[in-house]
């Protein structure tokens, strides 16, 4: 049993890190704030050239042919840098939707709402060329489809919660697209959840680093605030949450890649390999939601008045965490899934 990142994974992470530092510095990212279109074409192209979008496309089709585990490692780096744009949808669409792998077609994810009353919102309506449409989780048998942006009636919000992840209001219920995607919607949903969770881990790590740095720097009562237990204990808890979430994320990615491991582990709990996969993925998403929401909230608190300013980037991580903890699925839905698979 080996739970360490492989050499290739470390190289993937570090290579992407270097590209992100060059292309997506905090200053560069922040230039997109409140723009209706947040994707910087040159930066997006750089990600495409680095193979981010064709990561899962088989080598025989010109992709990198990497695993979900590798994808999770890569997306965490992007989350840490707050990289804007429909990263996850585009990664999952590549190989099926023309231009996604190359960075010329931007693909978002649209999930039909389980929540009835609100028709739902559409992510990045000014950036995306099309959407992977996931059927309601209740309607497990329905296929996932692709829908061009032009086929969806949605209005860009005048103001979105996250200035780096604008959304639109759907003007009617979301209908399925005409292009059926191969594979089950169920499997696609799990992959989307995992990659979203990976982005959240990046956000949590970013927020925690900002907080630790500030806590060492900021003096009150003649001491760095990081020497007060009221502060350091908050941060210790965030680290504990983050590491647990990251471990579960990696575990869930591994069982998604390897159904044989899912089958062996599932046996212990009387679960099929798919059920075990669901339990692992839903648990990972839940823990990553909590880690990201909590670390970013704590970051606001630790920064005091500075944390309440637009200038300090903490709010950007906080708002993105809110976006990712909400859009595809909520923590409550994930908890329901895990509970239903605990027996």
């Amino acid at each position: 049993m080996n739970f360490q990142l492989s050499e290739d994974q470390v190289a993937l992470r570090d290579g992407l890190q270097a590209i992100v530092e060059g292309r997506f510095s905090l200053d560069a990212v922040r230039e997109r704030e409140d723009a209706s279109s947040v994707v910087d074409k040159a930066g997006w192209q750089a990600l495409a050239d680095a193979g981010v979008f064709c990561l899962f496309v088989p080598e025989s089709l010109g992709g990198l042919g990497l695993s979900i585990t590798d994808g999770v490692v890569a997306v965490e780096v992007l989350g840490h840098a707050l990289v804007p744009g429909p990263i996850i949808g585009t990664m999952l669409a590549a190989g099926t939707i023309a231009g996604a792998a190359e960075g010329t077609t931007l693909v978002g994810i649209a999930a039909t709402s389980d929540r009835g009353a609100v028709p739902g919102v559409l992510e990045l309506p000014s950036d995306c060329d099309g959407y992977l449409v996931l059927p309601s989780a209740r309607d497990g048998a329905a296929p996932a489809t692709y829908l061009a942006r032009s086929a969806i009636s949605a209005t860009l919000a005048t103001r979105s919660l996250d200035p780096l992840h604008p959304v639109g209001r759907l003007n009617g219920p979301l209908v399925s697209g005409t292009l059926e995607l191969s594979g089950t919607a169920d499997a696609l949903r799990r992959r989307a959840l995992l990659l979203t969770a990976a982005f959240e881990v990046g956000l949590a790590a970013f927020a925690l680093e900002l907080s630790v740095a500030y806590a060492k720097d900021r003096y009150q009562f003649g001491r760095p605030i990081g020497s007060f237990q009221a502060i350091k204990h908050l941060l210790a808890d965030e680290l504990a949450r983050l590491e647990m979430a990251r471990a579960q994320l990696h575990y869930a990615a591994v069982v998604t890649d390897a159904p044989d491991i899912a089958a062996i582990d599932g046996e212990v709990y009387g679960l099929s390999s798919t059920q075990l996969e669901w339990r692992a993925v839903a648990g990972a998403k839940l823990l990553c939601d909590q880690a990201a929401l909590s670390a970013t909230k704590t970051a606001v608190q630790v920064h005091g008045g500075m944390g309440y300013t637009w200038e300090v980037p903490v709010h950007l991580a906080l708002k993105r965490a809110r976006v990712h903890a909400t859009m595809l699925a909520t923590s409550d839905q994930m908890a329901d899934i895990v509970a239903s698979l605990t027996h």
């Binding site: 237990q229 350091k232 504990a240 647990m244 339990r279 409550d332 895990v338 605990t342």
Partner: protein, 402 residues
Amino acid sequence: MDLRATPAEEAFRADLRAWLAATLPTLPEKALHTDWQARRAYDTNWQGLLHAAGYAGIDWPVEAGGRGASPVEQLIFKEECERAGAPYVGLGFVGLLHAGPTINAEGTLAQRTTYLPKILSGEHVWCQGFSEPGSGSDLASMRTRAVLDGDHYVVSGSKIWTSHAEVADYCELLVRTGTEASRHKGITWLIMDMKSPGIDVRPLKTISGSTEFAELFMDEVRIPVENRVGEENDGWRVTMVTLSFERGTGFVGELLESMRLLRELTELAKRTGAYGDPGIRRRIGHLAATFDGLWALTKRTVSEAQATGIPGIGGTVFKLSYSEAGQKMADLAMELLGDAGLLFDDVTHATDGQSLGNADHVENWIKSFNLTIAAGTSQIQRNIVSERILGLPKEPTVGAKK
């Protein structure tokens, strides 16, 4: 990242599973938890069986008489034992997890040959005399004194919270040999024979009503100098060697037990109808996800220890998250039990006529309080995490208070 077992790991698991299946049915009735002599007999019998089968000291090096199993095999060992319902290490805890490894790492050849074999075979039970009435979290302020008199140390003072001291043969004892203000620099690690004259053991009743630990009074107890492990005044460093054994896989058994308890609780919730309440279901889901996450973290930690020799961050943050989750689960159990949580007598379900299993859950709820106290309180754990891992500034030290 490859979570598949290697052929060697699989073989280890298969052998162990077969041995457990053959051995567990031969075990005697479990001892009453208030009957210490019977508990000792039960636990040492189990240790003897492990020893005969070559599973004693699974994590100890081969030179010390242990199995020298890899960290992953140690994890498999704990996993299989818990899943098969094997007894816990019980009274062997201090000998096998603290004193033994310390003597092996820091002791002389004579000390190793005298003490280690009997820890492994289960013949000797050890206790840990670290905490004092005035020195708990601030262990370095301890005051139990040892004065050199010829080839003996003469020890006077008191220890507290000494688990199973009533039935221990030996005590790993920390004493002050330096000046009163010497703190970490004036502590010595001694092996104390519990039959020595001058020792008075007074059991303390815990909140569960039994006597898990005791107060230990020492009045001019003479301990031979040859029982010193490490140099005089170097006991703090020696102790840290011991404590580092506690992190990493120290709580695997408890974690797996918690996962089993949660499954039982889920069944209970279904029987009582509480499962129909989405709030309850979500709490179950949160706890299950947390325990799964902690299990993944444990695997990562073990894999890290195997690859690098050091358990890394996972081992340090584990206890903090685990102890909170354990307490939350215990609270949930009490809420599910309702009135049946107010007594230790078994209550049967009104419609299905079967026991609710409430006694175990009530016992577990009470025990859950020690999760955030014993082996370093959660506040101290947070200090460690924030200072050693996050690099935040240390607490200002004011020196030991009386």
